[in-house]
Symmetry: C2
Subunit: 216 residues, 2 copies
């Protein structure tokens, strides 16, 4: 698939589709490891509990066609999905807040398999500033704006305490970051031109508790 990406020619997918594509990718990567050559949407459907018509629709956004009665070529599907999802391009990011979650993300080389390179950490605590975590240097948050001027990084991962979420987001944006990955439970306000993804792990806990006990 040739990648043509610019602001005039972009496809903004519906979020539910984007959420399902990584499921397909995980599955076909597994098939590829098992040397399986072809997979049908029916097989994917049975394995992942997603309706086969939905899968066909989701994959129609991609530049790939299955063969009648044989299905999709597994290797091509892996490549096309990785290309499409951006997982095989490099994206530099910084972690702001190097507590336990921030540290874990800096040490988790699994993220590199999804195209994310964490190139710096920032913190307010003097005991971590100047050190390295997982080979990545940690700087004083006061240096963020200066550092950003010299480094082409657009993604800031926010793993600060919740009461610092908004002010840290404001600082990151003022420093030139254009995409925020918010791991705090705080609903950060940003202007429309800033990209924000909320990974609200506490909300997922609440869903588990609610399904276990109900509430009221």
């Amino acid at each position: 698939m040739s990648m043509t990406k610019n602001n005039e020619n972009r496809i903004i997918l519906p979020e539910p589709t984007i959420r399902r594509l990584p499921w397909y990718l995980s599955y076909v990567r597994m098939l590829d490891n098992m040397q399986v050559e072809y997979v049908s949407s029916t097989q994917i459907s049975n394995e992942l509990n997603v309706q086969s018509s939905q899968i066909a629709k989701d994959l129609s956004f991609l530049n790939i066609r299955g063969k009648t009665r044989i299905g999709y070529e597994v290797k091509s599907l892996v490549t096309v999905l990785e290309d499409f999802l951006g997982f095989n391009r490099h994206h530099n990011a910084v972690v702001i807040g190097t507590g336990s979650l921030g540290t874990a993300l800096m040490q988790d080389h699994g993220l590199e398999n999804y195209g994310l390179n964490i190139v710096a950490g920032f913190d307010v605590r003097s005991e971590v500033i100047g050190k390295e975590i997982g080979g990545v240097p940690v700087y004083d948050i006061d240096q963020l704006a200066d550092w950003r001027q010299k480094n082409d990084v657009s993604i800031a991962i926010l793993t600060v305490p919740v009461e610092r979420a908004q002010e840290t987001a404001d600082l990151a944006i003022a420093s030139g970051m254009t995409a925020l990955w918010n791991f705090t439970p705080y609903r950060i306000k940003v202007s429309d031109d800033v990209i924000i993804a909320n990974t609200s792990i506490y909300a997922h806990l609440a869903i588990i508790y609610n399904r276990m006990h109900g509430n009221g």
Copy 2:
């Protein structure tokens, strides 16, 4: 608020509502720390970018009423939200897969503020079995079923490599776990009586990339 929770008398909330409630909680906890006494739904609305009618509707599931022109008492709203979300009750959990993410969750005492106590880790790697992480013991995954018989734990947090996701989920359920918190990008299949929450951090990455570049 009196809590009546049993299978005959449970309220299963819509997921979008459950996702918003922790935002409100983070905000009113912050106000409480700042000694603010009352908050109106208009204030919450302005702060969190959620429509004020939506907030009133969400909070109507809770046993609390605002006063005309004054709003909700902050301290009561904190308590009622914590009660309702289950964050001030103890829920025991195990972590299966003590890699970097599993380790981070075991060390992150922030989860305790949300009612989650991680009481054991399980792994296949001999170099971690028998050790402790953040004061929590790590056992051989082969011991899970035996261990579960002696310990009242229903929640398993899955932080295993993606290719182990389904088999580990099956093992956890066979051992008596009834709720899975899945951090792998794999779409795990479970029967309807098992609770599953997917925290698909890679899907969020894909959303950021797509919004940054578009695809296609």
